[in-house]
Every structure is written in structure tokens, then in C-alpha cells.
Symmetry: D4
Subunit: 255 residues, 8 copies
């Protein structure tokens, strides 16, 4: 912004023609919002939050998704589209040949050309095999944010030795994401084994009174292991972002 | 109603042959109810409420819808059918060539021939792109009632500058309809920025513990911005009517 | 704000020492926030929203309440404290001799010295006698905002003639607040009788499966009368503010 | 049962070889249970309850249904199968040419050859057109039990005059079944108009916070009209049986 | 109402000065509503519904209750106040020496001077001893309406022989009210034993996942015994009224 | 029962004067039901279920409890009263000097004079110290039924080594009762360690989203350890009975 | 494990190079976990719990299932896959010719070559015909664990004689599994008739306020028959395992 | 542990007299569990998790608390007792003169003699004044763990400028704990402003449909700001621990 524009605004504010908030917002908008009509992309999120605006793919039309992805790429930001069914991914994979699609996770990614060395060490543990899609959503999210991720599947508490055999691995993690459905006991057990932050992800795996994952969610919120935090049901994406916040803000502070 | 009929009724009431309520209802029915057997259309709603009876399209057969629309048109009232799937709209569009159908909103409209100048200024804001169908249902409803509507999509609170850049627009509204899913924080933020009435519409956009929109609904009911009111989940129609009640009853009083 | 201060800020922003948002916020804070440590009063709410910040009395100590009230009075704004038990009101009534307290409503008020002629016409209807405290909270709130209010108690739908006998009164209202517990049918019936905005207030009156007012709340959200809006359970305060938003923004536009 | 058999049992009981409960059950079973393996039909229900065992059609195979219907017909009892989709009804209509099927209600009926004059007078009222399937299920049920039924559709409380115009009809009913979705206010209004028993049937008609009919259910349970009773959501069948219990036990006592 | 008054109204309606509804309501109000300000008593309920307006005592002040009772007695109607704690009953018992108070039921009654012979035969069965207060509320209500009532306590399904030993008594009933907490199985078992109407009353007796009676309520709504109807949790009053509707409307038809 | 009585009954059944059910029930009642008016004690439960009828103490008056206890003792059965507050226990302890009262568990016991050697081996484990009252209720119940019980407190999963240090003890149990609040993970971990039956008891220990124990309840119902069964929240009594059923029916078969 | 390996570990622990937990887990893992990447099979479950790890088939791919089944067979353990749709079963039946599939139950089984004589006597009772799939899942599970099972369908409480006619059969059971939807009263009635352990299985059979089986679940948790335990909704598998735990641990103790 | 003891164990394992798990647990127990009978304190938590076992004070007796605190102090660990009412704190303050008690937070603390320099920078923000107790619980917890904490009260989203005026402070935080009741929008707005980890704490502040804090909880779980994690309602303690995990594990890695 140049000096003259600023001076003019100062003048209008002095004369009461403009209030400060409106002045600010109007000045800022062209730089921070990409206006597409049906979408108004938050271009400044990367600078504010450490990662750019990602795209929730569910119920968006091919046209909308194409428009949004183009806009993000224009600004050289990485692209992550979650909750994208195979049929919806197909046209996008044609339009964007450098895009990758993980069907199990329902995630489409376009990586930046030059990605820095991945930071930190996130370990993602699942209670069962059927929790994998959620775990993979978390993995892709954390990786596109620039973090290193390791995955340990099917380690539920009904066979504790499976988890204990990996206690060395767990103790070396900087953040652990514990993904589990049914009774959601996994984060409690892990939380009692390690000192690092533990992010619990309840999944909708189960039936009957699992209530679509609410049983696991409530269990995790009531974890007797102190300092476990929780994200929404099946929200691997949110867990990936939360882990990235921990790793990245730590990293930025180190330098 | 002619004098003789009234005199006769008075006589019967005097003689105890008829009670007042029944007398009234019987006299009134032919004028205020259109009897179709499967439906009994409330023809007097326009005069009582300021807008006519609109049609909830879901689970009604083509035959029922045709019959109801015919009856409404006979009385020169505008037609609005909500929750109408594309397949259900098609036969109606053939039968009623002046009908318009908005597929995204699931709304079919037959406008009156001579519509007055739209009144007031309603602004509809959405938290995200996927809230658009609900917002459009609200828009069509308010417009068919005779109101002027402006739409501002994708202005969720995770990137507040998007909303603030439009604060001038918000302050000029006479009514604001705030449409949002997920955590439903939009009406709270808007309610703190403006003096006009704010109608909150929770949507079922989200997953996991969004509980089909209940999370947003409860959040909006608990808004810390005083004087925000709420309608049912995904109820764009109800919000449109509520906004119309405010604009139209204000207008009628001005004259 | 003087020119020099503004110029200095412009300079710092140009040199990248300060971003716009922080600049704005810092400039604005002394005028718009009264800092009490335990509370940070929003002094600019009156100018933004048409009514000042009101005080939620529940669980606040006498010391906190006294501090907050003093701060509001300093700025010549009216005082409204809701959810205030008799024992908590007593010390405040001693400290502020011009305060009034309505025990049934749990509301303490200090009116401004010169109050303008009340505007508009709000009618508050209750389903039963036990809904009165909520109705009175709404009444006090709307009145302190500058509105005229009329109250019609105990007019539930099990004896419809009680409501119909007052239909003339209802049709003359500019806004109706319908307060009811149990099955919450009152706003549906009123909504079908009038054209003005209807604000529904569910109350926790009832027992068993009234679920503390949730039964009435859900009923009101599903009202078959189009365009009824709803506030939280027992939230007379919110309904009063919402009605005031309608009346006051209408009034301000008239001039 | 002949004298000898009874004497023998008495003897065994005396000698402590048999306890009374087992004796009774064994004696009674061949007369009162039709054993099909996958089903054990309660043949004595007609004599105990006034109506025979009816068949819940949902999730039963064609084979199961055919077997059950044959068994019932063998005993000259009327057949009522509810929750039967069109595809499931088709093979049964072929096998049982005297069967009738109402697609809207999802009900299959085989009437007894000689049905007595229908008793009593049940009036079924619905809030809207989309409540008709539930109302028809109630109608068929009550009729097969031997009751006379009249149907009044689409009389919701947002246009009260539609109901009041029929107050004479309502007052002549011996039992009223009030069927409504959304806010479920209909039984409260009717319950305040008449002296006869009112059975409320909540329907799953509505969306958002109608919670699949729970909103209407809870409203009806909290009806401010005293003495309204309620059946399960969409349970037209249950309402029909309950009305039949009232009509038939009254009738049996008159004689 | 005299002829002149009616003629005058007819004239005003003809001249468009008055609409029919308002005319009706205004004419009717003095006869059918007793206006107390805080309460508007429905004096016509007895003639419409077969029983007068009863009083929900909870949260009403002594002053309010006294005013309401006086008004009811003025019109020679029986008085029933429910949910009345001992402390609240005491001043009323002093003011109204002919009042009776049942502490266990929380019910105050003033019987009419000349009560007719009780009609019908209602049997109230409870699952356990702790369901007695609800059962007694039902008993007093049905009796003040003019019905004969018999009570059978503590007959839960875990010891079925207790119920079966009374099967003769159950089969002679015209209406059965089944009161139970916990799993609420009692009405299902009784509903399978008898032909008369069965009204189920869930109670809040139980703990943990009885959810304040919701467990019993939902069980009763899902009863596998056809034609059982349900009232609200702990709503002995509602069950009493519902039973009275059945008995009284039957009786009135017999004559 | 003598021969004559039986012969008379046979005769009446033959003549159609009596049906079998009523006959049976009437014959049996004096032996199996102790009629107290407010309570009808199931005296045959011991012979049917292996343990006698126990008494739920909550909300029962001193008079009722005294009457019930006297009746049980008359029949030489052991007495167990649960959910008994200290104040309610005091008068009973005076009346029945051989009664013992455990205040923490809220349980009053009168042991039979000659109790057999306790059978089996039940181990009760709790997640935390505050789960002790529920665990003790289970202990007293199982003991009065004749079982041997061992208690291991405060062994929650956040410190797994506390549980593992006792794995030998767990493996020697015939039944394990796992009592836990919060996230309720204890039975899952134990269920994966042992082969014997595991009965899970959720407790209401916790706050916020523990939902009064529902979080633990749902977790336990969804246990990933196969074959864990669950009782109601805080239902130590039920767990004690269930364990006794296992131990006692096993014992009876051995002989 | 040989002496040298142990000696080496002891040495490393002494020198502080290794902690005991990690040592243990690392030693044990090759014997007790079969690592497949997407799954980590608990091979030691049979020795710990008495039955091997079974497979939850839902949402697992053919590839995953084939891999898991192969691994289990390699170790000569029986195979049980639950919740397996017909389409998913077909490829497995081709790959494993000795597999059996029960379509109604959705269960695939590969029996061990030499199965011991079935132990104990489990009786499974269902409330209705539509509860059969859940009952069959329980039956297959208990049988693969080595238990003898008998099935009694359609014995709901609305026709109690159906159950009583089988009381001899019920009294001879060592464990009873009671499977019921709707109001879930069956286990309460059975629990009052027998002394053996009763495991209640709520099913999702029903509609409206059956809440997908929650109504039956809550009823069963609140059973007035003491000592009934409950498993998750539709969890025939869990009930089968629980019954097997009782039978098998009893059996092992007898020897 | 000495060599001989280990050798002996190795021998017993070789001879099959002892399994590895039991061996491990028995060896470890005296070092890691303090056995008090009613409590079994996890002495090794500090070394595993970075902070010692803290004490949930609610429902623990003075005797229990004294015993536990003594045990913790013996091991030179800091003491934190949460949810401690004033009356329960008093005897402890007498017994432990170096204890401090914060009545508003309900927290008792005994700091270690030599506490290290506090690490990191945690900022705790509250939506309103009444959220302070929860915020203070978080503050004490994080501080006793060795972290530096700053508190910013009453910054709810209805007056956004209050928050923005502090954006510099928020951007300097390493972890932010956002504490809010009602609609719980605060973490969404903050999450969009900063890059550091944001831990959301819903509070039970609010009424009606705030559902004891569930409304805020669900809103926070559905936050549109990516990467916000959530703890239980009113769980300031959990948020403090979670923040400490982030700060401390970061710190330990730096060195």
C-alpha cells in the first residue's frame, strides 16, 4: 500500500467520512480474499495460521472445485481436497495432471513444486483396520503442511501387547494421533504411556450404541489420562492440522 | 354474506339450535378453505398473514401437487413449492409453462403477473459455499413475498476479514439472514456488528458431531449476541418468511 | 484521535513495524472497551447494536456486579441485570438507590434519567400463569430498550377462545412474543392469526418428557405457521432484544 | 379338555411330579400357539384382546409371510399385514386372491367373509397431506377390528378455521385419532374442543430439528389439553388398535 | 344473549365494521373466561371436555392459588390442585376448610357437595411400591371426574404370578392404567392379557440409564402389545383424565 | 394343597366357571405373594432365581421398609436393602439389632443365622477411588447371595502397570466385575487379559460430557474386548446379582 | 525362548540400556502378533481369553479379509467373520472351499478339523421373527467357541403363554440369551423365571421412537429382574462370546 | 534390582512357573505403585508423562485426601487437588501449612520447594466473566507443571474489537487455551487469527438449550477453524495438562 492511499484514508477518518473498521477491511480485501461469487477464498490464511485454506470436497460441484483449485494454485499454495468420492475426483484428476488421489482416504492433493524437508515426528495409531481411512486423511493433511508422519495400524486395547511392543516408537513421537472407534479407549492408554501431546480422533466405526461415533467421542473427552485433546468424529483432517500447528509453531520458534 | 342468511343464523342461535363457533365456521368455510379431499387449502392465509399458503413439496405426488397448484392459481395467488427434487419438478414444469425451477434450491415458483416493486433490503450471508441451497431457498421465499434480497456467500468466521470487508453492506440491511453449518458462529459475530434484526439459519453442513445440524442450531440458540432469533435446521423457507414478516408489516404501517 | 497520532501510525505501517489490524485495534480500544480485569465491558455496543451491553447476573459476585454497573453508569447508559436472585439484588439496591428490582422476573433496572417516548407496540402472550417470569424478563428488556409493551397472560391453546377473544389486540401488535412451555403450540396458533413478526420463547414449564423445555423448543422450531422464529429456552431477555431490534431499526429508518 | 386328562394332572401335581405352571402351559399350548419354527403365532389373542395377532410385514420374507397368513386363515381370523412395500405385496396378492393392498398405507388386508356391522364412530384428523399414509394405516386397522371410521385430512393449526368448520363432526366422534408431524400441536387443540378420548399419533413428517418425529412426539406427550394419550411415531396401527379397544370393549359391555 | 345485541352485531358485520371471529370472541368471553390478570380461567372447559379446568400447583404462589380456587368454586365446579407440596398446601387447607390433601400424591381436592354415583371401573396397577404417588395422582383425578377406581400396587413383571393372580380383576376393568418405572414392561404384559383400553404411565423411578423415566417412556411407546397408549412421565393426572374421557363419554352415550 | 380343593377346581373348570390361568394363580398366590397393600412381596423368587427379593430402599418410608423387612424375615430369607441413606437406616438399625449398615455403600444387611461356605471367587476392580461405593454395593450383594468376593480399588488404565501387577489375581477369578466412570475403558483392557466372564459397571463418576455415566456406559457397550456384558450406571447391585447367577448356577450343577 | 537370550536381556536391563516393559514387548511380539501392515492379528487371544480373534467383516476389503483369514488358518485357529454381506462373502467362499456362510446371519465360518464335543447348554430366545438374524449371529459365535446352543424364536411378552409353555426348557439352560427389539421386556420376564445367567441383546427391530434399538437397550439396562446383563444393540456376536466365557471357564474349572 | 533376583526370575520363567508379564509387573510394582488400599497412586507418572498424578478432589473424604497428599509429598512431587469445595479444603489447609487454596478455582496446591523457571507462554482467553473458574483451574494446572501463563478475561465474539485489540498478545502465545460457554464461538475466531495450537474448553455457562455446556462442546468440535482441539466441559485441568504437554515436550527436545 502506498503512502498517498494511506494519507487519504487518514484524512477521511479525521473528517468522519469513514470509520476505521470499514477502512481497514476495504483496504485489505483485494489482497486477502479471492472473490469467486459462490466462494470467497481466504488467501491470507497461510500467513496467519501457518497453512493455507484447504477444501472440504463434499457436496461441491466439479465446477466449484475446479474454480477454487485454480485460484489456490494461482497463489502457489498447496492444494488439499478432503471428503472427495472417486466419481468426483475423476474430472479433477484430468484437469490437474499433477494431482494425486488416495481413494481410501478420499483425499486429493497437489503438492507444491519445492517442498521443504518434513519437520517433526507425528505417529498415527489406529485401534483397528477399519479406522484406516480416517488415519490416512490425517496423514495426508499433516504431510501437506510439511510434517513427517509414521502410521501404526490395528493396535486396539483388547490386545495390549500389540501396543506395548511399539512403546519405543511411541516414546519417540513429538505428537501422537490416536484414531479409534467403538469404546475409544486407545488415547487413554497411550496418554498414560507418553509425555508428548496426544490428539484423539473418534471414528464412526462400530454399530448399535456406538451412535455413529458419539460413544468413542464421549469416552475420549472423559479420558482418565490427563491432557488428551479431542477432535470431531472421523475428523482426520482436523487432527492433522492440530498436529501441524504443534510441530510448525515449535519449528518456527526454534529458528 | 347476505342479510337473510345472517338473520336465519341469529334465529337458530337464539333458539339454541346452533352454537356460535359452529355457526361462524360453517359460514366462513366456503370462502376460506379449498376442499380437495387429500388437501384443504387455507385460502385466507394471505389476508391474515401477509403471504399465501406455500407448498411443502417433499413426499407429495405429482397428482397432489398439480391439484394444489391449480387451486392456488385459480385464486390469483403466487405459487412457491419447496423441497422439490428435479424428477418431481419436471412434470410440473410441463403442466405449468410459466413456472421456474431452481435446482440447487429445490424450489419451484410461479410469479404473479404484476408484482409490485420489491420492498426493504434483506441481506443473506452464508458461512460456506455448501450452505448455498438453504440460502437460495430463503432468497426465493422472501422475493415471492415481495422483498428485495442480496446474497453474500462463504463468509465464515475462520477468516473474519471476509466479513468485515462487507461491514458497510451489512449495516445497510434491514434484516440479515445468517446461514451457517458446523459450529454456527456466524450469527453471533454478525449480531455484534449490526442493529437490525438477525435471523439465524443452522444448516446440516458438517459431519461427525455436527449431528445433522443440531450443533449449529444449539450454538445459535445460545448466541452471546443479544436478540438473535433462530429457525429450524436447513429452514431457508422459514427464514425467508420471517424476514418478509418484518419487512412487510413495517411497510404496511408506513402507509 | 489527532492527526499526528495517525501520521505516526501510517509511518510505522509503511515501515512494516505494525500491521493494520493491530494498529486499528490498539487505537480503538480505549474508546470501546472498559477494562476491569475480570470484565472488559463493550462500551460501543449501543452505537453498533442499538442497545448497550446488558449484564447476565447469575454467578457474578456482588463486587463484580457493582464494578460493572458503576462503569456502565459512568457512560450514561441504562443498566439491566438479568437472572439476579433476591439475595444478590439486595446489596445492589442499597448501593444504587435509583435501581428497581422485579423479584418475579429476577431483573434489576436502572433507567436513564430522560427516557424517550416508548416506540412501537410489542404484545407478549403466555401459555400459562407459570410462564410469567420469562414474559416479564422480556418485558423489562424491551422497555429498557425504549419499546412499548403489553402483556396477555394464560392464553394456552387448550382453551382457544381465550386467545380468540383477544384477536383484535393481537392484530394491532407490531411484534408478538409468544411464551409457552409444555407442548409449545402457542406460537403456531398465533403465527397463523397475524401478519406481524412472531418470536417464540419456549419455557422450562412442564415435567417428565418436557425435557427442561426442549420439547417446547423443538415444537416451536417445527412450527407449521411459516416465519415464526425462536430464542433459547426461558430466554425472555433474548426475545426482548430481538423485538427491540425490529421496532428500533424500523423507527430509525422512518426518520 | 376331558376329565381324565385333568384327573391325571391333578394326580401328578399331588405327587410333586409336576408344578402347576408347567402343567398349565403344556396343556394350553396346542390350542393357543401355532408353531412354525421361525414364528409362533398367538392364536388366542382374539379371545384375550378382542382382535387377532396382526403381522408386522417389514423385513419378513415372502416365505415367512405366506406361512403366517396361511396359518391365520386356517383359523378363520382376519389378516392385516402392515409396513409392506409394493414389491413385497405383489407375490402375496397372487397367492391370496381375496387380499387387498393399499399402497399409500403399505397395508395388506384379507377381510373375513362375514363382517358384522361396523361399530362406533372413529374420526381420524391429519395435520397435513403428507400425514395420510399413517392415517390410512390407522383406518385400515380400526376397520378390520370392526369399527366405523371417518377421515379428515390437512387440518393443521396454522389455519384454525379449517378445524373449526368441522367442529360438529369432531363432537360427534366417539374416539378421535389426531395425526400430525412438525410441532404436533393438533391433538392439543382438538383435546380442548371435545370430551371424547383423543389418541395422538406423531409422524416423522418434517425436517431438521423434527428429529424424525421426536419433536412431535414430545409435544404431544406434553399436551396442555388434559387426557390426550400418545402412541409411537408413525404408529397408525397402534392408534387404530387403541381406538378399537375403546369402541369394542364399550360395545361388548352394552349387550 | 339477547336479540338486540345480536342484531346490532349483524349490522356491524354487514357494514364491515367487525369481522365474525372478533364478534364471536367478544360475545363469548364474559361467559367463558374468568379474567384474573395473572390467570384467565377456562370456565367452559367442563361443557366442552366433560371435566373442568384443573390446577397445576407447582410454582404457583399461595396468592395465585387462592384466587384461582375461589374463582372455580364461585362456578360450583370441583377443585383439583396437583403437584402441591405440603408447605404450599397448608395455607390453602386453612382458607378452604372443606379441602382434602393427600401428601403422598401431592394433590389437594375440594369435592362438589353432591357428587353422582361413580361410573365405570378403572383399575390402576403399579410395577412397584415407589410408583404409588403417581398412581394416587391418577386415582384422585379420575375420582373427581366421577369415576370408580381400584388400585393394585407392586405387581412388576419380575414376579409374574403376582399379576396373574389378579387376572380376574384385570379382565373386569373397563380401563386399566399401568404405572411403572425402570424398564416399563408392565403395560406390555397387561396389554396382552386384556381387551379393554390400557393407558401406560412411565415413572421416573429408577436410576442411571433410566434417564429420569425416558427409558420406561420409550419402552411403553414401543410396546409389542397392540393398542397401548402412553402419557407423559409421572403424569398420573393425564392418565386419570384420559381414563375419565373413556368412561364418561361412554356413559353419556348410553343414556 | 389337598385333593378335595383340586377336585373342586377341576369341576369348576369343566363346567366353564373358571379358566385355568385364574385357577392356577388363585391357588398359588397365598404361597408366593405376601400381601402388604403398598407392597406385594415375591416370596417364591428364591426358589425360582436362586436369591430372594431384595429391597430398593430409595424413596421408601420407614414404615414401608419395616413392614417389608419383617415379612422377609418371617420367611427366614436374608435381607438386603440398597440405596439407603444414613438417616433412613438409623430407625431400622434400632428395630433390627442384627442388621448391619455400610454407609459408604448405602446398604443394610441382615445375614441369615447359618450361612454356608461362600462359593466361587469374584474379583471386583475399580478404575478410581471414587468408584468405591458402587463396588461395595456389588460386594455386599454377591456376598449375601453366598459368594466369595475380593476387591481391588483404583486401577485405572492411565497407569496400566497397576493392573498388570495384579494379573495373576485377575486370572484366578471366576467372574470379574469391572467398575469405572469417566471413559469406561477398564473392562475392555481386563476383557483382553482374561478368559472368565467380565461384567462391566459404568459409574457416574466424572463431569461435563460424562453425562452422568452415559459416556462410560456407551463405551462399555462398545467394548472391543469380546464378550463383556454391562449393567446399568452405578448398578453395583445388578452386577453382584449377575455374578451370583454365574457362580451359583455353576455350583448347583456341580453337585 | 532360550536361556542365552534371557541372560542377555537381564544384562542390558542391569546396565540401564533397556527398560523392562520394552524388553518384554519386544521379546513377546513375534509370538503374539501377526503383522500384516493394515492388520496386526492378536495370535495370543485364544490362550488369554479362551477364544481366538474373530473378524468384524464390515467395511473390510476382500484383500484384507483374505489376508487375515489366511493368517488365522496358518495358526490352526477357527475362523468367524461377522457382518459380512452376501456380495462380500462370495469371493471368500471361492478362496476357502471349507468355509460356510449363513446369509440371514451375515456370518462366515471355517470350523476346525477336529472339534470337541460341544459343552454346556445355551438357550437363545427371541421376541419376534425379525430378531432372528441377531439370534443366529449369537448361535454361530457360541458354537464356534465350542458350546451347545438351542434356539426358541418368536416368544414375545404380548402372548406370555408362548414363553410359559417352554418354561421347562428355560429352566434347564445354563445360560439364556434373550434377544428382543421394541420395548425389550423379554429378559425381564425370563430373568424372573430362572436362576441361570441371562444375557440381554437389544435389537434395532421397531420403528419411530425405538430409536434404532436404544429403547430396548435402555429398557434392558433397567430390568426389574435382578442380575440381567446387557450387550450392545444387535450384538449377537458379543452375547455369544459372553455366553461362551461362562460355559468355557466353568468347564475348565471342572476338570 | 539386583542380579540374583533377575536370575531367579529367569529360572522360573524357563521352568514355566511364571509368565513374563506377571514377572515384570511384580518386579515393578513396589517402585511404581503406592498402595493405600482405597487408592493405588501411580508414582511413575511423572517419569512417563512429564507431570505427576494429580488428585480429583470431588467426593473424596478428608481422610482419603490426607493420605494421598502425604504419599505424594513423600516422593517430593508437587500436589494439585482440583474440584475441592471450601469446606473440604479447610482441614487440608490446617494439616498442610504450605498449601495454597484458590476458592474461585476450587484448587489446592502445594508447590515444590525449588521450582524451575516457568517455560513457554500459554495465553488463556475467556468468553465472559463467569468462565473465570474454569480458566483459573487451567492456569494453576499449567503453572504447577512448570509453564508460564497469561490470562485475558471476557473477550467474547459479540464485541470482536475486544479480542482484536489483543491480537499482538495472541500472536506471541505458544499455546492458546480458549474458554467459553454459550455458543462456544471463541476458539473458531481465535483459531483463524493465529498459527499456534488452540485448545478449546467449553464451559457450562449458559442456560436452556446450552445443555450444561454440550452446545459449546459440539460447536467447538465443529469449529470451521482448522486444527482446534477440544477437552471436556469445564475441564480447565485437562486443558492445562494438554498445554503443558506441548510446552514441556518441546522444551525437552530443545535441550
Amino acid at each position: 500500500m502506498n503512502r498517498e492511499k494511506l494519507q487519504e484514508i487518514v484524512g477521511r477518518i479525521e473528517r468522519g467520512e469513514l470509520d476505521l473498521v470499514t477502512a481497514l477491511a476495504e483496504l485489505d480485501a483485494p489482497h486477502s480474499v479471492a472473490e469467486l461469487g459462490f466462494a470467497r477464498i481466504d488467501c491470507a490464511r497461510q500467513s496467519r495460521c501457518g497453512f493455507p485454506e484447504f477444501v472440504f470436497g463434499q457436496n461441491k460441484s466439479a465446477l466449484q472445485l475446479t474454480g477454487i483449485i485454480r485460484e489456490i494454485r494461482k497463489r502457489k499454495q498447496p492444494v488439499l481436497v478432503t471428503r472427495l468420492k472417486t466419481a468426483a475426483a475423476r474430472p479433477l484428476l484430468k484437469k490437474f495432471p499433477d494431482a494425486e488421489y488416495d481413494e481410501l482416504a478420499g483425499v486429493l492433493i497437489i503438492r507444491p513444486k519445492h517442498q521443504a524437508e518434513p519437520a517433526g515426528k507425528i505417529v498415527i495409531v489406529t485401534g483397528g483396520t477399519t479406522d484406516l481411512p480416517v488415519a490416512l486423511e490425517a496423514k495426508h493433511t499433516a504431510e501437506i503442511c510439511g510434517c513427517a508422519v509414521e502410521l501404526l495400524a490395528d493396535s486396539g486395547v483388547a490386545g495390549l501387547h500389540r501396543l506395548m511392543a511399539k512403546s519405543a516408537m511411541l516414546r519417540q513421537a513429538e505428537v501422537i494421533i490416536a484414531v479409534a472407534g467403538m469404546e475409544g479407549a486407545l488415547p487413554s492408554v497411550i496418554g498414560g504411556m507418553v509425555a508428548c501431546p496426544v490428539i484423539a480422533v473418534p471414528t464412526s466405526v462400530g454399530y448399535g450404541a456406538s451412535l455413529g461415533g458419539l460413544a468413542a467421542l464421549f469416552a475420549m473427552l472423559n479420558s482418565c489420562a490427563s491432557g488428551v485433546t479431542v477432535v470431531n468424529i472421523d475428523n482426520g483432517f482436523g487432527a492433522g492440522c492440530a498436529a501441524a500447528r504443534i510441530i510448525l509453531s515449535k519449528k518456527s520458534r526454534k529458528t
